[in-house]
Amino acid sequence: QQPVQSPQAVILREGEDAVINCSSSKALYSVHWYRQKHGEAPVFLMILLKGGEQKGHEKISASFNEKKQQSSLYLTASQLSYSGTYFCGTPGGGADGLTFGKGTHLIIQP
């Protein structure tokens, strides 16, 4: 089951904040977040495990609520380098291979 991401796209000015959401219709025990720039491979940002933990990476943090089956990625004081497409990934059934959402396109303008 593919996780659902929202919004599909965000346009921000440099220094503004953004929130990207990821929700699943099935129980989650972990969520991965990746960023992909145009023409490049996805780059791992962070993994969140059940327990409602929050993790951070530079000025990017995330939360995970396994009861609500959702995760949110927070980008604070966005920089031009944050532009790209953000994907959340959730483990599948038996194996732990990730199923990715359709992505959220983030454009940061100067």
Binding site: H32, Y34, F87, G97, L98, K102
Partner: protein, 111 residues
């Protein structure tokens, strides 16, 4: 540490031809994944290996796609025969149990 190596970087073939992609994961990473990413979409898992064994190939179109990971190190993904809808970027990723490290991918165009 060296990243995930993939080759070729680009490939253009005619429909019904065959093509093979190669991947060398990060040294020591037991888990290797092949993903297909169609333009504008998220990566879709094709197959997962744990060492040299297949863990999940439920989304691999087995009538035309095949993959192997001999000796539990590098891996090859093959398409035979290719269809127009196979045009995509094929990404290889490896993991030691946490986040994935992706290779640069092979951009396949089927004409």
């Amino acid at each position: 540490e060296a990243g995930v190596a993939q080759s070729p970087r680009y490939k253009i073939i005619e429909k019904r031809q065959s093509v093979a992609f190669w991947c060398n994961p990060i040294s020591g990473h037991a888990t290797l994944y092949w993903y297909q990413q169609i333009l504008g979409q998220g990566p879709k898992l094709l197959i997962q290996f744990q060492n040299n064994g297949v863990v999940d190939d439920s989304q691999l179109p087995k009538d035309r796609f095949s993959a192997e990971r001999l000796k539990g190190v590098d891996s090859t993904l093959k398409i035979q025969p290719a269809k127009l809808e196979d045009s995509a970027v094929y990404l290889c990723a490896s993991s030691a149990g946490g986040g994935y490290t992706f290779g640069s991918g092979t951009r396949l165009t089927v004409v």
